[in-house]
């Protein structure tokens, strides 16, 4: 079993991949575009100077039209961890001391993953972010459970539909994982994503440490369903806006990102003759997004993603 650790590095200075197209609704384009451009950047940076076709390995796949350096040049394998691309931890950290920042982390539990693994996944995700930003703790952790949405023609509708989505029992159970992080002081504030009024009130009845934030994606943010607005006000939960999709990294998307296609990274083989390529069943497990904002200046200094997938070779 191999754990693929995909990373974007800091996407704030990554150019157009982070800019929303006008009218674009929720999407995972920011994640996929910035992963892709970080792969490409790493391939360029870690190739021998003046890297050109002559230095690249020849690839025999017929569909292949792009030459790229061998994955071993720009990725790193450490035991069962496979970093795509290589992370140079000496470059991590923020420019000022941690107290100057508001650090928000959003953890996406992905569908089809054993919920029993969530404790480990959560621990891993937070550890990676703390290491990347070199901070002792984060200010807000938002968890996103699979199968949730806030969709419908009208927001009342969306709120009702939301009531029967997800899996209350598992969500409540998983919450104790982040409550532990809170107890340890690693996280100062907890939050949820896409909880409508009914789900949220059921949730509040069952958990020890209530969320302080509920992040919702509403087409027109002026039309918050009144029951949710009232509940949030009563419970002093901040309703924040977001633009992410819940299933942020479907396995097909991941396969394309890593595959041999023109827009792929060339890590994953799709034919038997792939060189340096890996084969096997690929399961995206979780994605974490982190944002470090200089508190009193409103400047986003660092934002990025880690995505982890399990590869059964």
């Amino acid at each position: 079993m191999t754990r693929l650790i995909l990373s974007t590095s800091n996407i704030m200075t990554g150019g157009p991949s982070i800019i929303r197209k006008p009218g674009a609704d929720r999407s995972n384009l920011e994640l996929t575009n910035s992963l892709r451009s970080n792969f490409l950047a790493a391939q360029q940076d870690y190739s021998p100077a003046g890297g050109s076709k002559a230095n690249s390995p020849t690839n025999y796949d017929e569909e292949e039209s792009v030459s790229r350096p061998s994955p071993s040049v720009w990725t790193t394998r450490e035991n069962s961890n496979f970093y795509i691309p290589t992370i140079d931890w000496s470059l991590s950290g923020l420019s000022e001391e941690p107290s100057q920042y508001d650090i928000t982390v959003k953890l996406f539990y992905l569908p089809g993953v054993d919920v029993a693994d969530r404790a480990q996944h959560t621990k891993d995700a937070i550890a990676l972010v703390l290491k990347e930003l070199r901070v002792p703790s984060i200010d807000l952790l938002i968890v996103s459970f699979p199968g949730m949405s806030f969709e419908g023609d009208c927001e009342w509708d969306a709120d009702k539909k939301n009531a029967s989505q997800g899996d209350d029992k598992q969500e409540i159970k998983s919450w104790s994982i982040v409550e532990d992080l809170y107890d340890q002081g690693l996280v100062k504030k907890l939050g949820l994503a896409e909880f409508g009024s009914e789900k949220l009130s059921r949730f509040l009845d069952k958990v020890r440490i209530p969320p302080k934030v509920d992040q919702v994606n509403i087409k027109d943010c002026c039309n918050v369903p009144p029951p949710l607005l009232q509940l949030a006000k009563r419970q002093q939960i901040e309703l924040l806006v977001h633009n992410d999709c819940t299933n942020i990294l479907p396995s097909g998307t991941l396969r394309e990102l890593l595959g041999q296609g023109v827009r792929g990274a060339g890590v994953l083989s799709e034919s038997k003759r792939g060189i340096d390529g890996m084969k096997g069943e690929l399961t995206p497990e979780w994605v974490v997004k982190y944002t470090a904002v200089v508190r009193d200046r409103g400047v986003i200094e660092n934002k990025g993603y880690f995505a982890v997938a399990d590869l059964k070779e």
Partner: protein
């Protein structure tokens, strides 16, 4: 403040003899500030807006509207309001420190008021929500301290300023000693000695009256060639009365002849505190190319002196109204007594870039920049770097206009009055402001090109937009550099009628930073030598190509909303950039809702769905029953226009012609939505509003 300090002002020839004295001391004070504050770091983002009002006398039933000259009385009333002062809001000297109620200030025009928030805003998103409320509060407080028929309105200019007849209360005849204007009386200016001296010394230095000429709008019944019918060619009271006989009033232009026609304009200005001098210098540079774009977008000035103009904005009129250049400096006569020919008025677009940003290419600089070489040398000898020294040495090519005899006795390095004398009379579209002495305030940048908007909703929208774009510039490390002379051209373009719809502006095609290779990686170790074969894996282009390839002509819609399919450019658009910034921040639904309303207003102004104030006013006049399509804005039309403007912020815009085209259908629909939702559930869900 220096503004209100009293003293003995020097008349022009005397002031001129002391100009070098002031400049020398100004340089010393600047160096003192610079040495003290150059290491200032980690200042928070604080920012403030300034709203300027005209005060009009308006009665529904009386056809004649006038400007109220009661500025001093109104300010006194504000100052004397005990309760208000107790809460912290009134004129500055009586104000408790730390008050949060608005502060009112005098302005050049005696019919003007300026109001600022009682405390600077931060970047907390809740603060952004308070901006519009505070603007409304300011308007309300101002109104409460006026006579019942007086109203503070936010038009850039008073449409019939300088028209024949009575346009002030009380009435004064024109042609006073200070302004020598044949259209406006000296009493139009704030009577504080600083202001008449400023106007008189500009006129004296220049050697004639200022000439503010605006092309007239040629309507179907406008006689052509058009001669300004209000110009009197026969006056002989002052030597300057000969100006119009010597060609000061060309055909087809509305002719104006006094500082009041420019400095009597209202603007919307935003000042930011930067984290450090480096960040301030960066903001100064990056905001500069945005200036003309925001000028065109906020266009609100289609009428002068009772005539429709063929331009939409105030900028060039202010520029001309304070243009103190002599015929030699203007290039009309050979240089004998003056040191340089100077291409621009002291009120003009920026001529410098000042950031240490490696992306600042020398090709962007103005090749013909005039600097005072001695001043530059003194600044560099004092330790200032060449780039910044050049900037200030450029500002110091001007003479100080108002000098108080008392200030020349002793140099006080704990003050910056001499420096500020020059700095504050260099009215450029972006101003770089060193920290004031005796306070903890940091390096600041002022964004000055925007025109005031009729409603506080619009003023808040543009203020907040500018704040957000600065945050996006810093967060995404954006690069808007174009040659600074292109910004001059853009400022001219912004004047054209409906420039927002029809004209194109030079703008940088790719605002994103070039990615730096990872240090310690194969390609990050050293700069590659020799040529590498271009391939998909080559490094991103380093900024060494022709500068001309970096920018293109784009319309406001493309710059604000992004390139459409089929455009040659792939510009992402300033509004999508701001939205992407917001997407990465924790913003609550209510705030996002309000911000969306603001961004929608600007988006729709940019794509033409909504009108600029200039277009709305022009259309209002042209659609008025009394308008004869001869470019004349009569007293009756003016009356109704002012009434509509008052109603827009007062009774509401419902009955005003085309108000929807100015403000959009759901004029701040969100707040109503949110408020409705915040109330207990409505009984009848199906009831529909008007």
């Amino acid at each position: 403040m220096g503004l209100l300090a009293l003293g003995t002002p020097l008349d022009w020839p005397d002031a001129k003899h002391n100009a070098n004295h002031v400049r020398e001391w100004g340089v010393k004070q600047l160096l003192s500030v610079w040495n003290r504050a150059k290491g200032k770091e980690r200042d928070a983002l604080l920012w403030g807006d300034e709203i300027e009002y005209l005060v009009v006398n308006f009665k529904e039933q009386e056809p004649n509207v006038t400007l109220s000259l009661r500025q001093a009385d109104i300010l006194t009333a504000l100052a004397q309001d005990d309760k208000l002062c107790h809460d912290g809001g009134c004129v500055p000297e009586l104000q408790d420190v730390g008050g949060s109620l608005p502060i009112f200030h005098p302005e050049f025009g005696r019919f003007m008021l300026e109001a600022t928030p009682g405390q600077p805003w931060g970047i907390g998103f809740k603060d952004l929500l308070d901006v519009e409320k505070d603007m409304k509060l300011r308007r309300r407080i101002a109104k409460e301290h006026m006579n019942p028929e007086e109203y503070p309105i936010t038009l850039t200019t008073y449409p019939r300023l300088g028209s024949p007849g009575i346009f002030t209360s009380p009435y004064y005849p024109p042609s006073g000693e200070k302004l020598r204007s044949q259209f406006v009386p000296d009493e139009i200016a704030n009577p504080h000695i600083r202001f008449p001296t400023l106007a008189a010394n500009i006129r004296s230095r220049r050697g004639r009256k200022v000439q503010v000429n605006v092309p007239v709008y040629r309507d179907t019944n406008t006689s052509w060639p058009w001669k300004d019918p209000t110009v009197n060619y026969d006056l002989t009271k002052w030597p300057e009365d000969a100006d119009v006989r010597n060609g000061a009033a060309p055909d087809n232009f509305i002719h104006m002849d006094a500082m009041a026609f420019g400095m009597g304009s209202c603007c919307l200005q935003i000042t930011f505190q930067a984290k450090s001098i480096a960040e301030g210098r960066r903001m100064y540079d990056q905001l500069s190319p945005l200036g003309p774009i925001l000028l065109a977008l906020t266009a609100a000035t289609p009428i002068y002196k009772g005539f429709l103009a063929d331009t939409d904005v105030r900028w060039n009129q202010i520029s001309a109204a304070v243009d103190d250049r002599t015929p030699e400096e203007l290039g009309e006569e050979p240089l004998r007594n003056n040191r340089w020919r100077i291409p621009k008025s002291r009120y003009a677009a920026n001529s410098t870039y000042i950031s240490n940003d490696p992306r600042l290419r020398k090709e962007y600089m103005d090749p013909d920049l005039i600097v005072d070489a001695d001043v530059k040398q003194q600044l560099m000898d004092g330790g200032m770097d060449s780039l910044l020294a050049t900037h200030f040495a450029h500002l110091f090519i001007r003479d100080p206009i108002v000098i108080f005899a008392e200030d020349l006795k002793e140099l006080d390095l704990s003050k910056s009055d001499h420096f500020e004398n020059l700095q504050s009379t260099n009215w450029q579209h972006i101003r770089f402001k060193p920290p004031p002495t005796g306070s903890d305030i940091g390096w600041r940048v002022e964004f000055r090109p925007m025109e005031i908007q009729i409603t506080d909703f619009e003023n808040a929208a543009f203020s907040v937009f500018i704040v957000l774009i600065t945050r996006a510039i810093l967060s995404f490390d954006l690069n808007f550099y174009i040659p600074v002379t292109k910004t001059d051209e853009n400022m001219e373009t912004a004047h054209r009628r409906d420039a927002v719809l029809n004209d194109k502006f030079y703008f940088r095609k790719n605002p994103f930073p070039t990615r730096a290779p990872r240090p310690y990686s194969a390609n990050g170790r050293s700069t590659p030598t020799g040529t590498s074969t271009p391939s998909v894996l080559s490094r991103p282009p380093t900024p060494t190509g022709p500068v001309e390839d970096e920018y293109a002509l784009m319309g406001i819609d493309e710059i604000m909303n992004g390139s459409k399919d089929g455009s040659n450019n792939e510009f992402p658009g300033l509004i999508p950039i701001v939205e992407s910034y917001l997407d990465s921040m924790n913003v609550d639904v209510e705030t996002r809702c309000e911000l969306t309303a603001y961004l929608n207003l600007i988006r729709k102004r940019s794509d033409g769905t909504l009108w600029t104030a200039a277009r709305w006013i022009r259309s209002y006049v042209r659609g008025h029953e009394e308008y004869k399509h001869d470019s004349v804005v009569s007293e009756k039309i003016n009356h109704d226009l002012i009434g509509a403007v008052i109603d827009m912020e007062g009774k509401g815009e419902w009955n005003i012609r085309d108000a929807g085209k100015l403000l959009g259908k759901g004029f701040s629909p969100c707040k109503e939505g949110i408020m409705a939702l915040a109330r207990p559930p409505i009984v009848d869900q199906t009831s529909s509003g008007p």
